[in-house]
Symmetry: C2
Subunit: 349 residues, 2 copies
Amino acid sequence: MGVHPTVEDVAVAAGVSRQTVSNVLNSPAVVRPETRERVEAAIAELGYRPHASARRLRTQKSSMIGIRLDPGTVDGISGSILDRFLHALTEQADAMHLRVLLFTAADPEDEIRQFQRLSEGADVDAFVLTSTFHGDPRTEWLIEHGQSFVTFGRPWGIDDMADPKHLWVDVDGRHGLREATTHLLATGARRIGFLGWPAGSGTGDDRRRGWLETMRDGSGLSDATLETLDVSAEDGVNSGADALRRLEAAAGTIDAVVCASDSLALGALMATGGRIPVIGYDNTPVAASIGFSSVEQPLDEVATGVLELLTGAHGGRMNPGAAITDPRHRLVAPRLVVRDGPPVIAAGH
Amino acid sequence: MGVHPTVEDVAVAAGVSRQTVSNVLNSPAVVRPETRERVEAAIAELGYRPHASARRLRTQKSSMIGIRLDPGTVDGISGSILDRFLHALTEQADAMHLRVLLFTAADPEDEIRQFQRLSEGADVDAFVLTSTFHGDPRTEWLIEHGQSFVTFGRPWGIDDMADPKHLWVDVDGRHGLREATTHLLATGARRIGFLGWPAGSGTGDDRRRGWLETMRDGSGLSDATLETLDVSAEDGVNSGADALRRLEAAAGTIDAVVCASDSLALGALMATGGRIPVIGYDNTPVAASIGFSSVEQPLDEVATGVLELLTGAHGGRMNPGAAITDPRHRLVAPRLVVRDGPPVIAAGH
């Protein structure tokens, strides 16, 4: 046996065929548990690193990461968040001599067809997915076909969250709303409203929870009052302005507002003419330009986490021989960017 | 000679070495004009297509287009224009089975190092450049090294505009500002101000020219009056609000404003509280969300033009055998997107 153990070596050590070793690596579900354990033990003992060595032998080229450009123009203002993630990912991948290949897809099924095309052509070694949702068929396909991938966004299904085959990085939106609400409470505000999306979206419910928990702990308001301070709206600027008016109609005077997005925040800000503090989410260029506070997703950290999970010794699927106890996901904390509020609106009055 | 003529065939026909043929294709400047003409005649006569055939023989893989992700966060709101161009380009490249590879670069010199690295490694077959400027060293390097490229953005030097080696696609900003100003004149506005960037930027001066020409033709105002209606400001929302106040101080009552960007327009809109029509440029998600009119760059058309110039029979550098009389650049017309104006600001009063 040479310095770099081969599939053959693993097959011999485990007393199985090469195909079985390949199945354990790529489609473990089709292998009987006893056999799988035997092969995994042989992999660990020999220190076999299938993907990396195979790729290095096959080609001198850099590894390629495939990522779909998100069509996301639904939320026009916050939509840029995925473009900003792409910037961070490309910058860090460049520094690691990995390449980023872009593709587009009309829907999840189309994206799966692209996965197939790009992995069959050996154009792409691993995929990065964004905009995950509950029951996402894309991750299911990738796991079934033994493709390396990491998602920006958690699975959003309670059962899937700890799936060792699904590596993910996400931002702790609940923590972000806690920070924003705590900041407002510290400035003396008590009647702090929340403008969020209709219940049912994983991300939106998570952010709402952060506001609600903090208000229960720190505002001294009753649950009944908190209910009047909680308003749902579809994302958008005009929708945010409308929601702010509904909030004032339902709750009377309010001291401040935290929002699930910068679009809602901009609407609230315009409807109030800047009378009360408004905090948005995503720290978009719009928040920076106009000058209102917003919760920032640390996209550099997300990109770092994604690349570490993809390539690292610590559980990346590109390196399935690594110990299974390594962390398989990252939840990174966003930070509140505090700004004075927009002088321009006030001046317009 | 086979069906597909080779470099050898061209060399024999022109009575030169293979290296000379290669020089004519890749570094024409180093070849004497008489020799160059002889080789070009042989290429045309034989119908030799160097890049396409060589690449097809070399590899079964798809052609790869390299593009730098613009760091552009200078203009936060309009910065997304290049991300939107990237979306359009990737979508159309996908449909043509071309692949898009992303990279980042800190500055033009760094971008040139990336060109070198990516072309030497044969990772990339052609480059698409954005954010061109006067005296751009990047295009000079690519021409010298015989690399295929097309720029989104004209050279901005009078001498370079017709350079047959520099293929480019750009948007006719002057035309866009003419459309916007004409629209306002048709609604009865006469004292139409212009908020633009300080003189000296190719793009900014071009947009200013569109406003000025239209006002001279259609407003009936004197040149002295037009001068008071022309205000410069660095790009930005607060800067736009400030410029609007300076405009009103200098020119008195104004009927409407056209702006070189949506950032300036948003500032003007906030400073006036929506009293008068404001038209922006770039039709960003912010303009759409808030609901003000803006000039839209037809990025789909730009992407189509870029890909046609890169790959087409009509003068693309990927196909240098094509007749030299074919169009080497495209100037596409933007369109004005008319909206009613933002109800939210008015409601906030």
